[in-house]
């Protein structure tokens, strides 16, 4: 099914960016720029919703068995030998779901940003970049092959760089931008290598392809279909370096880890908070950083062949979740708390991918986009209200001054903490349950899924605690901003004209609060699209998200035809992962009628028990946070946490400094100055020295010249006299 509207989704923001860049910079009219920016995203949003949800649209809501994407093949981009990359877009169930929340949340954040950036001299620049980001992000999501996806992948990286460094006069912003860009370079290396390797593997399998889909018009075959019949690779470290699908999966995960800020490449994200807050909300919480998750879910067909890679993804995800949560506990900058929280939540998503719960990962991506965008925008509102103060130690008691921001952030807080009904509860609980019940696929032992679950649960507890701490420090308690302002009155002398007015916190304008309210509603109710069967009332409400996504996602257990590798056999020591959770997916509907058959009562009971435990954990976390920080909001937490385990310092010492010193001493002083310059200088010196010797012939001594000419003539005569007149005849 082709539809040319699809390309309008990506090109509308591009047009918006171009208009703002070329026209907006001359007009300098905030109304015009804001309208163009928000309007272009609104166009994308409307089209995305139309194409995804209309009857027969990409999500096929009423037709569970149909997975035909909507295509828009624009032109053949590169065709060399067997290699072919199209500039083609495709919206299937997965990319459609993604496009929906990206455009919608993006639109809300654009609206918020119009209020937030008011009066900034770079207003047009900001929105040009922001629209360009939306173009890149939607290209990434809607691309129908790896190479075009990489274009979007790099595009979002570039826009992230531009927007982190938006405040050009701040050195730390520039440094943070560079850090983000360079760290992402490491990940991009993995992405590119992974795609190349996949191309070679499909090439060897007889059908070279880097495409995601079988394209009916161009006749391109999906790379995933090419490899679908491959055997599941054995579990073991050697598989990583074997050059098979495990290598592809690990390389792609390196790319995802860079983009989605996982250990060890997460260090750029906290620093990225140097950018304007809407950027943090849009790029570094809701959309771009989840691109890694999207890519892995998109490549689920590869990952289900690579248990080793799944194991790595799960462990890194869980480790990142816990690690970042502990750091988030001790940060004092409101945006830093949220940044580490984002890293931690991204860890959850990778944990879900690693245990094969790809749907749960996407579900969490969506709910996280809602509540984290909400929290970030709320923090932006707080920062504006506090006159660009980000340190929570100088806040406190703000709920009186900013009631709407407070109420909306309250929703986000409860959502991320995992209180039922709120969005975060369902998605996080789904991940924890899927981790607990994961089979042994990709896990070396039966206890691993329980261990990963324990890490996830501990992270959930920490999440509730640090979010409570943030809320308490910001909105409750004494109004610390007064003390501070009395103290450093001189320091803020540039506000002197009406210092006392300026420092009074105030609620933000409606342009900023309206998106907050919408996001708050989504954070409250957004989780209802993915209520697991066990927690629903006889399957109501349906698990829409799973029902929508399950048909396009490869399942680790779906290889029943290879008994040695999956379903049967002694490896399944813990309960088998369900093929489908809930009545949803079409296979179940076809095979089991109503679908109840796939839910054994035991499993449902276990899942409900775990859900109760999750609620208990969330409540315990909130309670603990409240008990600790309500009375002592400024409690000194362990230094090692506040200093982020000194990871930046370790990287500085272990990687950056050696590179710096090696570049300076080795590459510059030794190689450049010594070898390159040395070679050229000695070449010049050699010519000079030869000249010094030879110039004695040119003494300006005329009789000397005459003598040389004579000698030359004699030599010629002697030659012919000796060898004969015809000596030079051939």
């Amino acid at each position: 099914m082709d539809n040319n509207l699809l390309s309008l989704i990506i090109f509308a923001p591009l047009a918006g960016a171009a208009i703002n860049w070329f026209v907006g910079r001359r007009l300098r009219n905030e109304k015009f720029i804001g309208l163009v920016a928000c309007g272009s995203i609104a166009v994308s949003t409307v089209i995305a919703f139309y194409l995804a949800l209309k009857p027969g649209g990409a999500l096929h809501l009423s037709d569970p068995g149909n997975t035909t994407p909507v295509f828009d093949h624009l032109w053949t981009w590169i065709q060399v030998g067997k290699f072919r990359a199209d500039f083609g877009l495709a919206m299937d169930r997965l990319s459609g779901t993604y496009a929906l929340f990206v455009t919608f949340v993006g639109f809300l954040i654009h609206v918020f940003a119009v209020g937030y950036m008011r009066g900034d001299s770079g207003f047009y620049r900001f929105f040009a970049y922001l629209n360009l980001f939306m173009f890149s992000m939607l290209t990434l999501v809607l691309a129908d092959n790896f190479l075009l996806m990489f274009v979007g992948w790099e595009g979002v990286g570039l826009c992230s760089y531009l927007l982190i460094g938006f405040y050009m006069d701040l050195k730390e912003a520039g440094n943070a931008a560079k850090k983000a860009f360079i760290t992402n370079r490491v990940g991009d290396w993995g992405f590119v290598m992974g795609v190349m390797l996949l191309f070679f593997i499909t090439s060897a399998a007889g059908n070279a392809s880097i495409s995601f889909f079988d394209h009916p018009v161009t006749g391109v075959t999906s790379a995933f279909n090419v490899i679908s019949s491959a055997a599941v690779e054995p579990f073991g470290w050697h598989a990583i370096f074997a050059g098979g699908l495990t290598s592809v999966a690990v390389l792609l995960f390196i790319g995802a880890a860079g983009k989605s800020a996982q250990i060890p490449l997460y260090v750029w994200l906290p620093d990225a908070m140097a950018g304007p807050t809407p950027v943090s909300a849009l790029i570094h919480a809701a959309t771009m950083v989840t691109a890694g998750v999207y890519m892995i879910v998109r490549c689920s067909a590869i990952y289900v062949h690579a248990p080793t890679a799944m194991f790595i993804v799960a462990v890194i995800g869980a480790a990142t979740a816990l690690f970042a949560a502990t750091i988030g506990l001790a940060q004092n900058d409101i945006k830093k708390v949220l940044a580490y929280s984002t890293i931690s939540q991204l860890g959850y998503m990778f944990l879900a991918c690693g245990v094969g719960a790809f749907t749960a990962a996407i579900f969490h991506v969506i709910t996280h986009a809602f509540f984290k965008a909400l929290l970030f925008l709320g923090s932006g509102s707080v920062i504006t209200g506090m006159h660009h103060e980000q340190d929570m130690r100088r806040m406190g008691g703000l709920k009186k001054y900013m009631p709407i921001t407070f109420a909306t952030m309250l929703t986000g807080w409860l959502a991320i903490s995992g209180i039922p009904i709120f969005a975060g509860f369902f998605s996080k609980d789904e991940i924890l349950w899927k981790t607990w019940s994961a089979g042994s696929f990709g896990l070396p032992g039966p206890m691993w899924s329980k261990a990963l679950w324990a890490v996830g649960a501990l992270t959930a507890l920490l999440t509730a605690i640090y979010m409570t701490r943030m809320m308490v420090m910001t909105f409750w308690g004494s109004e610390r901003f007064r003390d501070v302002h009395a103290d450093d009155h001189d320091a803020t002398a540039h506000f002197n004209n009406d210092a006392h007015h300026v420092h009074e916190p105030h609620e933000s304008p409606w342009l900023m609060t309206a998106p907050l309210i919408v996001l708050a509603i989504l954070s409250l109710a957004g989780g209802l699209i993915g209520v697991p069967y066990a927690l629903s009332y006889r399957g109501h409400p349906e698990n829409y998200i799973e029902r929508t996504l399950e048909p396009v996602i490869a399942k680790a257990s779906g290889h029943a035809e290879e008994p040695s590798a999956s379903e049967t056999g002694p490896q399944w020591l813990s309960p088998k992962p369900q093929a489908v959770d809930g009545p949803p997916a079409f296979t179940t509907l076809d095979e089991h009628g109503a679908g109840e058959a796939s839910h054994s009562p035991d499993e449902i009971r276990e899942e409900r028990l775990l859900a109760l435990l999750s609620i208990a954990i969330a409540l315990a976390g909130i309670g603990a946070g409240w008990a600790i920080f309500r009375k002592r909001p400024l409690l000194q937490l362990p230094r090692i946490l506040e200093n982020k385990y000194y990871v930046d310092e370790i990287y500085e010492a272990a990687i950056i400094n050696p590179i710096k010193v090696g570049s300076r001493e080795g590459l510059w002083k030794l190689f450049d100055v010594g070898v390159i310059d040395g070679f050229l200088h000695s070449l010049g010196d050699a010519v000079k020295e030869t000249g010094k010797v030879v110039r004695h012939l040119q003494a300006g001594f005329v009789r000397g010249y005459a003598a040389i000419i004579l000698l030359g003539a004699l030599a010629v005569v002697a030659f012919f006299a000796y060898y004969g007149v015809y000596a030079l005849r051939p």
């Binding site: 003494a699 300006g700 001594f701 005329v702 009789r703 005459a706 004579l710």
Partner: protein
Amino acid sequence: MGPQLSWYLALSAVLFTIGAVGVIVKRNVIAMFMCIELMLNAVNLSFVAFSSFFQDVTGQLFVFIVMTVAAAEAAVGLGIIITIFRNRESLDVDDANILKL
């Protein structure tokens, strides 16, 4: 036994050598100039000798050409010598050892 070709050639060689050595040894520009003329005329002698010996007039034609060139050279060379003398007040070639005045 009349004069042999080799006699003329020997005389030519002797004259040429005297001229060549004179060019190298003499410092006076005029003397060098005369030595060059001597060399040219030594060559002319051998041309004429060959021409007579081989009964071929070409050699004599060459002599005319050489004389023409020598005349032109004398005109230019004497002009240069006079200029150098005016500037340096010397006819010693070793004083004219740089390429500018």
